[in-house]
Each structure stands twice: as structure tokens, then as C-alpha cells.
């Protein structure tokens, strides 16, 4: 059976954590991984190479600070009419509860702070979408920190942990995080509307959610801000009891 998917074999031990993960998260056998997932995939490949060697061994000096990092891409984007020199995209991100217990340790939004489209330079930033108060900024930025950090020439990673943790889960265990991706044209000229046509938000902004295994961080849990405890998954209390 070399090369054949092993779903039947996996199904024989559905309660083991790894097997459960494989059964729940693996795409169907016919669903091949896309050949190209664009810039987000490239970003995660670089993150992987910084954190593990070619054989998959985690590097001792890795700075990732979590055992799991999930890149979430926007569900869809809605482009608003141009307001002066500004172009605004509304991005929705679906955040869902995990089946297994993990604890969020950090959430960031990664975006291109500078875009170069058809000869035009755009300066961009991300804000939370706030109804009736479009100019309100991230709570975390009101105090002056943390500021966005420049990851490379192309990408900026900004901490939004506080903003994410302040949003309660709805009764279905779902949460949609809405952000605004705003770009300003640096050198005037043609309408941004035309420039933006055909540009996917998937290539311009995405979320990174950093998690740790709950059972690993049980002893640290009391040191975390209370809000972060909301991210303990449904069965985390059971795991905590077992750990005790």
C-alpha cells in the first residue's frame, strides 16, 4: 500500500491525538495540496526554515515562541469606494475553536506596508473594523505600543493579541475578526480603483495565530492575562484536571 492514503488504518485508532488530528484536519485524499498558495505559503515556508532544519528537527535557537502557528487567510474582502487618496479593503477572518486543547499565546496580522502596483507606490496599514467609529485605532496602539515590526522589506507583522482576545466567541463557537486594510497612494495619478482591480487580499494581509499545547502550559497558565484564558478550548478543563 505504499503511496496509498491510510485513512482506514488511521480510523482504527481514532482517539489518539495525532490520529485524531489527521482524521479531522487532513484534506480528502483527492484534494491535492495547491501547487502555489502564493505569498502566505512563502511566508510560512520561511517561518518553517527558521524554526526547523531540513529533516524537521526543531532548531534549538528557534524564536517562534509557540508549538503551533496557524496562518488564517481572509474569507473575502470588500473594496470600498475610494475616499480621496485612500483605498480601503474590509477583510473578514474566521476564527474557530479547535477540537484539541490549545491556548493562544499571540495573534498578529501580517500585511504589506508598501505595495507597488503598475508603477504606483502605496503606503498601507491595518486597522480594526469598528462600526460608527471608523477612525478608531487598535486598543494596543492607543498606548503607543506595540508598534508594527518590520519583518522584511515586504512584510510587516503587528501584534493584535489584545484586540483578538477582547472579542467573545458567539454561541456557536465562531468568531469573525474584521479588519480594514488601508492604502494611500504616494504618487498621485490614476484612480486606485483601477489599480486595485484584480489584486487579491490574500496576497496583502493574513493572520498568524500562535498556540501552545494546553497541557504544556498548565503551570504557566496562572501567569497569563485573564483574557487569554478564554482561549482555553472546550475540553481544556478536563485536560487541566488530568494534569493535576
Amino acid at each position: 500500500n505504499i503511496g496509498q492514503p491510510s485513512a482506514a488504518l488511521l480510523a482504527e485508532a481514532p482517539t489518539l491525538p495525532l490520529i485524531r488530528k489527521l482524521l479531522e484536519e487532513a484534506p480528502h485524499e483527492q484534494q491535492r495540496k495547491p501547487e502555489a498558495l502564493g505569498h502566505p505559503m512563502q511566508y510560512m515556508l520561511e517561518l518553517y526554515q527558521r524554526s526547523a532544519d531540513a529533516h524537521g528537527h526543531p532548531r534549538e535557537n528557534r524564536t517562534i515562541g509557540a508549538t503551533m502557528v496557524r496562518l488564517v487567510r481572509p474569507l473575502a474582502n470588500v473594496a470600498r469606494p475610494v475616499r480621496g487618496p485612500w483605498h480601503i479593503q474590509t477583510l473578514d477572518f474566521s476564527l474557530r475553536l479547535n477540537q484539541v486543547a490549545y491556548q493562544l499565546v499571540r495573534a498578529t496580522v501580517v500585511y504589506r506596508h508598501q505595495l507597488h502596483l503598475a508603477g504606483f507606490y502605496l503606503s498601507c496599514h491595518v486597522e480594526p473594523w469598528v462600526q460608527k467609529s471608523p477612525t478608531k485605532r487598535f486598543p494596543s496602539l492607543e498606548g503607543g505600543s506595540p508598534m508594527p515590526s518590520l519583518i522584511s522589506r515586504a512584510w510587516t507583522e503587528m501584534d493584535i493579541t489584545q484586540h483578538v482576545q477582547q472579542r467573545p466567541w458567539n454561541h456557536k463557537g465562531l468568531r469573525v475578526l474584521r479588519l480594514r486594510f488601508m492604502c494611500q497612494q504616494q504618487n498621485g495619478g490614476e484612480s486606485l480603483e483601477l489599480l486595485w482591480h484584480g489584486t487579491s487580499s490574500l496576497d496583502t494581509a493574513f493572520l498568524l495565530l500562535y498556540f501552545n499545547d494546553t497541557y504544556k502550559s498548565v503551570q504557566k497558565a496562572k501567569l497569563l492575562p485573564k483574557g487569554l484564558e478564554e482561549f482555553m478550548e472546550k475540553d481544556s478543563s478536563l485536560l487541566l484536571q488530568r494534569a493535576r
Partner: protein, 125 residues
Amino acid sequence: RAGNISSKIPGPSQEHDGPKSNQCSLHHFQVSFHQLGLDHWIIAPNLYTPNYCKGACPRVLHYGLNSPNHAVIQNLVNELVDQSVPQPSCVPYKYVPISILLVEANGSILYKEYKDMIAQSCTCR
């Protein structure tokens, strides 16, 4: 009674334990995620080195095997009391994790460190 038992314990012998090459030890083994049927969602790494433990456990479990007390006693039981009780088995002792990059069914990209995925040493227990 311990004295009586110990007097009956023979020392390590090649005849009983088999040739040294057949003794419990870690064996290098590499497999691709394609062979495991998981390459349709695992991006990196391409190869996985789980390794495995194989070989006979010696009658006298020396210190380097990290065998627990229970294994030592089980060996004595097998030797002196009841041979239907099996000798300890050669199994992994320490593991190291592996980092995997994968694409989830919903299109999310996941970096995850899975614990206990690579056998690093062996023991008899």
C-alpha cells in the same frame, strides 16, 4: 531469597542473548510522507526519520539500557518462575519532536511541532 536468586542468575552469555548485533538497539529508518499517504497535505519536511528499536533484550539488563526495576524483575520471573511471562521488549526510550508544515482542509497553513515522533534511544521494558 534474593541471595538464592542471584546465585542462579547466569552472567551475560552470547549463547542465550544471541549475537551482539542482534541485541536491542536503535535502527535508523527513513520514510517519505508520500509512502505514508500523507503527502497531499504535508508541505515540509519531505522525509521523516522515525527510526525504530529492534533486537533481543539481554538476560541481565545492564545500566545503559535504562530499564526500570519492573523489567529486571520480569526478566527474573521469566527465567526462574514462569516462562509464560515474556521477557521485556525492546522499545523506544527517548523521543524527539518533529516540526511539520501542512495545509489544512480549510486552506489554513499550519506549522506544528509534534512531540515524540522520532525515536532517539531504546530500552528494554
